[in-house]
Structure formats: structure tokens, C-alpha cells
Symmetry: C2
Subunit: 164 residues, 2 copies
């Protein structure tokens, strides 16, 4: 069967001559953005970002896990970002996921119990608010005054802010 | 002081009318890509991706943490991806970071010890190989035969494969 990776690797070689020149390690807008891995979220296009402007952190759900906090601490302390955008989205795979059933399927299939919670949630706005609070309360982050949450609507491309 | 988030939010509103129409939840290329949060990595542009084609997972370093494994399990079991790209890059903030010194600074500044390792590394190719092995060995992932590792060169835009 054809591999999608072969195709993407060939595409990357073709795009290499469009390289717009090297940029500095420090993001010029001093912003870090945490969002979901969802395939419909093109962060550069949505925010009109160019190479070198903002850190992009993504996991399933855009949840504030220890890994995202580790990354934000490096982003702020080592690489000089000062603001954080937390973006969830509509039609997320974790929204209303039946997590106990999902775990059960995994055990039946692999004989292993998942050693982590998957992070399903039922209320989208509440999930954004939890993310904001979790980042605001992380004592290792030096910049916690500009942390804001948003929902991206994958049906329309509309972005709306969630106020805590 | 002006907020970069205000500027990016305004930019998102301006880009909303360029929305290319809704796409399905399942990524059409059935690929998940794990890479670093680095601001110079525009995954859609590098791989010629369009909205709806691939999951994008990003943390500091593009390291395979439990959070990335959690996300990959959801990506494969819930959302039908079958291949994984693991991409590190040159000039990474974690490459040769003096992690003990970094931790010491944090304690001096906040009176808190970081409850996680930051993941500094010294050999870039070895870090990619470790990532490949870690994903290949994760028993909860149903698709582990097409997992490949790459280094993106931020100085030139060149992408090269790392063979285990």
C-alpha cells in the first residue's frame, strides 16, 4: 500500500525552494499558542502568522497537561514568550467521548490498561476555562497576566473568546 | 503595553472570510505528525498540507512524552490515522540545554522545583531515533509499522530522514 509519508516527504522536497529565509530562535511576537492536534486547525493561516513569530503547542484536545506546562516554561524562560493563547475547537474528538468504554476497548484489544487519562470533556467553554486557570496557577511561569482562551469553530472558521 | 493576542485575534477575524469550507473530523491522509513548538516550523507549508489532512502534535522538542502517546492513541484508535511522522529540527532550544542550571534558576526564582524533566538532549539524530523507538514500543498503538523520523533544517528548509 502507498505510504502517505512518502508523499508528504516528496512534497516537502518540492517546497524547499520556497523557503523564505532563516528566522531567529526567539519568537518575534513573544506568544505561545496551545491548541488541539485536529487536522482542520492551520494555526499559521488562522492567525496570519509567519515563520518565526509564535510557539505552537498541540496535543489531543489542546488540554493543559504537564507536557504543555513543561513546554510553556521553556517557551517563557528560555525563549522569551510572554503571552499565551489557549484554543479549543468545536467537533473535537474528546468532546463527549465515552472514556470508560474507550479504555475498555483498549484493554480488550491489547491486554493493557492505559496508564494515562485521555481527557474527555462534556462542556466546551468550561474546558477552555479550566485550561486558563491551570496555566494561571502554574508557579513556574513568569508571565501569567496575558493568558486568554478561545474556541475555533471548524464549521465556519470563526474564532470566539471565552472569558473566565 | 499592546497585546500580541489582540493583534492575532483581529487577524483571525480578518482571515475568517478566507475559510475554505468545513472538512471531516477524520484526517484524510491518515497521518499524525509530532514535532517541536518552534516558531519556524509551519507544518502545513512544509508538507503542502491542507485543512483536514493530518493531525499535528507539538511540544517543546517534539519529544515522545506520555501526553504525545495519549494523543497518538486517540489519533489512531478514535480518528483512524495509521502512520506517524516524528520530526525534530536544528537549532532547537533543548539541544545542549544545561538542564541542571536551568532547574537551579527556576528554584532560585520561584522557590519551586520543576515536577518534570525538561528533556534536553545532546545528539539530534539519537533523539529522533529514541522518539521512533518509543512510539514503536507503545503497546496501545494499533499501527506501528509506518513510523518514520526526520530532521528539519531551519537554516535552509531542508528535510532529511533519520534511519533507525
Amino acid at each position: 500500500m502507498a505510504s502517505a509519508i512518502d508523499e508528504l516527504f516528496a512534497s516537502a522536497a518540492a517546497h524547499e525552494n520556497e523557503f523564505e529565509g532563516p528566522r531567529a530562535l526567539i519568537p518575534s511576537k513573544h506568544v505561545a499558542l496551545v491548541t488541539c492536534m485536529d487536522s482542520r486547525i492551520d494555526t499559521f493561516r488562522i492567525f496570519g502568522l509567519e515563520s518565526g513569530q509564535a510557539h505552537i503547542l498541540r496535543n489531543a484536545g489542546g488540554l493543559i497537561t504537564d507536557d504543555m506546562l513543561r513546554s510553556l516554561v521553556l517557551s517563557q524562560r528560555l525563549l522569551q514568550t510572554r503571552e499565551v493563547i489557549l484554543m479549543h475547537h468545536t467537533n473535537c474528538g474528546l468532546h463527549n467521548l465515552d472514556e470508560p468504554a474507550f479504555r475498555k476497548e483498549i484493554v480488550a484489544d491489547t491486554d493493557h490498561d492505559a496508564p494515562y487519562a485521555f481527557g474527555s470533556f462534556t462542556d466546551l467553554n468550561a474546558a477552555v476555562r479550566r485550561a486558563i486557570v491551570r496555566v494561571r496557577e502554574h508557579p513556574l511561569l513568569p508571565h501569567r497576566d496575558k493568558i486568554r482562551g478561545f474556541v475555533y469553530e471548524v464549521e465556519s472558521g470563526h474564532l470566539r473568546e471565552v472569558i473566565v
